[in-house]
Symmetry: C2
Amino acid sequence: MTKEINVAILGATGAVGTELIDLLDRRNFPIANLKLLASGRSAGKSLTFKGESLTVEEVTQESFQGIDLVLASAGGSTSKAWAQTIVDAGAVMVDNSSAFRMNPQVPLVVPEINPTAASQHQGIIANPNCTTILMGMAVYPLHQIQPVKRLVVATYQSASGAGARAMEEVKIQAQAILNDQTPTAEILPYPLAFNLFPHNSALNELGYCEEEMKMVNETRKIFGDPNIRISATCVRVPVLRAHSEAINLEFDAPFSVDQAKAILNNAPGVKVVEDWQRNYFPMPIDATGQDDVLVGRIRQDLSHPCGLELWLCGDQIRKGAALNAIQIGELLLQENLLHPSKTVAVSVGQ
Amino acid sequence: MTKEINVAILGATGAVGTELIDLLDRRNFPIANLKLLASGRSAGKSLTFKGESLTVEEVTQESFQGIDLVLASAGGSTSKAWAQTIVDAGAVMVDNSSAFRMNPQVPLVVPEINPTAASQHQGIIANPNCTTILMGMAVYPLHQIQPVKRLVVATYQSASGAGARAMEEVKIQAQAILNDQTPTAEILPYPLAFNLFPHNSALNELGYCEEEMKMVNETRKIFGDPNIRISATCVRVPVLRAHSEAINLEFDAPFSVDQAKAILNNAPGVKVVEDWQRNYFPMPIDATGQDDVLVGRIRQDLSHPCGLELWLCGDQIRKGAALNAIQIGELLLQENLLHPSKTVAVSVGQ
């Protein structure tokens, strides 16, 4: 029987945090004790785990004593602030923020793609960006058979990507518009209900936003292929939960559609959804609450003899965040990768 | 002073029909008489033109006597059913349906792109598909300077593309979801509110839907370039009006971003909308009710040295349909292309 471990969730009250609590239960993660941590603002709230009410505690220097695994989902600055404390306490941090993802000392892991990278950890393992995970799940199985040379992606990202409050804001905006009132925007920069806009993360000098650069750089790191050429357009759409992506792939030689379908039908964590008669393909409402990434519209690229087009939908909070983090935890347990030499602290100066 | 002509709108009560009526007024189209035509179901309704109430008439064999210009927007089967009658009556039909677009005898015209094609008409001129018009407006000015070799596009298409009833359905669905009820779908195949799905037009043997093939084939015809390679992914999104498109362009040689912006800044019917500080780019709510196609996020393609990425939003009913049709009418007047030899009837057998 698997040894039970002590787990802490940092950022327990957020959209990903509550999903982590739910998934730890449903996946029967071997937990001795679960500690729910958050900022002082959320401390004192009660959340339910396995039918028991747990009180959210404010994170302090002492919070991580005796903890084996920390699932962190409270934003980059919180992760940076507590990483050293967590590692010093002998715990491993699986970090859902972008703080350490591109740090060469930190493995960036999707268990279906690069599980062996986890063994290199020095106390921190990064969970990739949601759109990157979802894309990797559909693209890597093909990339293994024939390397992807070039990838062009356009995303359709739900409000959940901006957190629980953004999801609530979109509903409030929708109700205002239905009532012939002018919607207001506080969490997101512009009204999202019945509207959409390019992803509002910071732009680099070439005009690409951070979200797009995550898809470029994180995919290269996860695939272990610095040569794959990627360009992305990230867009927020008025969907509550689950992201969609239109992906164009270019290979060095033709890749048959039938072979691609067969490969994706057998890929772990991927479900091919295609019903041409009903014109039924992956939709966010069907991907919501699902572990699998739904892939469909697998077809020859009409503009290139060595190209394929794909369409996918995946639950951004599930496989795009919480599920992947827990799968990393399961991998650490399975490969006996918890409790590394505690004195090798990662550089948190990134 | 321009001669005033007799105009009929076939399909006057639809989303495009009502926009045609409004635009004929606002653009001071030189009208002697305006006749509003529709099916028997809509006959008897009243619509306002220039402050006067006009009664919608049921279309009959006699409807087009004395008419100079018919703006048709009642669907492909209605256009096919009445085309010969219209041409025989000596009128020119500007058809918004897809019925005649790929007919070699029928010019397919975007006045900013291929105005001279209109002179070849034999009684019918086709108005292109909305997503095709919007894309052409942004791409053709660049294509003129350096030919586009390959184009990959992903669309974000509003409910208006499926008509006024679809727009209403999305609102009803949204209200149901906000009330924690299950939404129903009657006009569109699946719920669109807080959801999205690949365009539901019929699929060909390669898995491309009609909407996607329109973007491929119509663009080639309008640009007069059968060699441009195009692949498209068309998606319906829960936006009420105005379509968006993420466009990836590949040229034979590098195309500088600064030059592209300068060209698009001077392109007729195009407005460059880019504010990097505010992360403000084209959005459907800003494109709604605008004549111009809003273009932004003009940037170097990170995956190809000869590539550019673009983002656009355009009013699907305005420039994507009604405005373009009226501009064709204006072109016909200006170039004296109404009343061609009446006996040359077009083949309507396509």
